[in-house]
Amino acid sequence: MARSVTQQRKAINTAVAWAVGLLIFFPILWTILTSFKTEAQAINDPPLFLFFDWTLENYAVVQERSDYMRFLWNSIIIAGGSTILGIIIAVPAAWSMAFVPSKRTKDILLWMLSTKMLPAVGVLYPIYLVFIRLGLLDTRIGLVVVLMLINLPIIIWMLYTYFKEIPGEILEAARMDGATLKEEILYVLTPMAVPGIASTLLLNIILAWNEAFWTLNLTAANAAPLTAFIASYSSPEGLFYAKLSAASTMAIAPILILGWFSQKQLVRGLTFGAVK
């Protein structure tokens, strides 16, 4: 008896949860569906859900007319470059704070986090000016550096929390066996740290990919990534629903897939260990 009640409850839960889940996901689903319609079908009255002539035409047109690949490539360079650069700088820092903590470690960590709280708009003009002076405006390298800096606190924090979980005894044992600092890092620490570094990498690529303040304000034609490319569709002459949908689908698909792998890391990376 009790069992059938729980089965029944489970069925109700399932129905409600799927309905809510699909409702929340609907805008994304609708965008993907629209990307396979013709422009006329996209604004058909009443709206067409599944029964239309599926076409790949929009994807071809978006690439042809706007050189989508160039924006994609910029996004890849900027998101990937800033993340890799950030990790190279953050690994030693996080390592030393996790394994050689001093009295000031906590203060340093909190201070680093506080730089993340600085509202971007408050320093927009100085950065703009520095970029002009250094010839970095509308260059990929400039954005790589800025996005690396804004995400560096999160990278250090995530790595720190992962490194903290590696038992210090193992390192001591390696030291006792006569391992040098270099050997210790290379053969003992690195293999244990790889999963943490991979998760950090993943989350930060997502954050950098979607960043839309500096990418919009510091780029024009050359270095513009997908965020800026999509924003260009906001002008009235760019109002083609099917093409907008195709461009949007291409811009979000890689990150949606990466994001599904990084659900767990999201909590760790964005709450700074305040929620476990």
Partner: protein, 288 residues
């Protein structure tokens, strides 16, 4: 001896990150503070000298200032209320046993991974457009007059778009917190005859208190500086000019750097007040 050695090694390893972040913080911040005390119009004469607190007074006394503060607070408050309330409900729902839990979770989390310019444009054109938007079709279906959302109900529309983006974040964090709840405590209360509502009010909600605080603080920091959603929808028109957008317009559009910088300093102070609370919670957690 070894500790001495590793300590200095540790300091060297930390140096690049510390120096970079210090530079990233101090250089632009110093420039912003300096500019804020100057009359600085790059396109109309450039640096026109020191003006004391003139910019600070003018920024606050301009007719755009208080509306922008109000809009900012309404948007931040609205999004927080919606995401926390729905987030708690969704987290409770997702915590229940069901079939296909993993897939539902993915569906719910997905909006967080959509880049802000995409979600703003998709909502603006494909849902909120008064002629071709899905909402217009829905309204017509029920015999109502379609609403041009972003001009007639602009703030509500923006709150809706931003809530959609941030609901997954709140849900995910609250779900993580619910899952760390001791199930024995819940079972014991159930055996003692506590109603579901009582269990929620006396056990689950207090347990979620800290997670809710963290969600509120982190979201506040991000929401205070939302930009792309307004940039691609209304460009600050129809009463949607937030403090962030006002400063952006002063600095880059009207090229009044002194005035914009004074606004920037206000924004920095505002963000720091929120950040101070967040830091206290994070700091406490570091000790334990």
């Amino acid at each position: 001896m070894a500790t001495q050695h590793s300590r200095s090694a540790a300091r060297i390893m930390m140096a690049p990150a510390v120096i970079l972040l210090l530079g990233w913080m101090l250089v632009p911040l110093t420039m912003t503070v300096l500019f804020s005390f100057k009359k600085y119009l790059p396109l109309r004469g450039g640096d026109l000298g020191w003006v004391g607190f003139d910019n600070y007074v003018r920024f606050v006394s301009s007719s755009a200032f208080w509306p922008s503060v109000q809009v900012t607070l309404v948007i931040v408050g609205g999004v927080l209320a919606i995401t926390v309330a729905l987030g708690v409900l969704l987290a409770l729902l997702l915590d229940q046993p069901m079939w296909g839990q993993g897939i539902v979770r993915i569906l719910v989390i997905a909006p967080f991974f959509v880049m802000p310019t995409v979600s703003a444009l998709v909502w603006k054109n494909m849902f909120m457009d008064p002629v071709n938007g899905l909402f217009a079709h829905l309204w017509k279906f029920f015999g109502a007059e379609p609403i041009s959302w972003l001009s007639e109900a602009s703030i509500q529309s923006i709150i809706m778009i931003v809530s959609w983006q941030w609901l997954p974040f709140a849900t995910l964090i609250l779900l993580t917190a619910i899952q760390s709840l001791d199930s024995e405590q819940l079972e014991a209360s159930e055996m003692d005859g506590a109603s579901p509502l009582a269990r929620f009010g006396y056990i689950i909600l207090p347990h979620l208190g800290r997670a809710i605080t963290v969600v509120v603080l982190i979201q506040t920091i991000f929401l205070l500086s939302i930009f792309a959603e307004i940039y691609v929808t209304t460009q600050g028109a129809f009463g949607t000019r937030t403090l962030t957008f006002l400063i952006f317009q002063r600095v880059l559009e009207s090229q009044n750097v002194g005035l914009g910088s004074a606004g920037g300093v206000y924004a920095i102070i505002l963000a720091n007040i929120v950040a101070a609370f967040l830091m206290r919670i994070v700091g406490k957690n570091l000790d334990s």
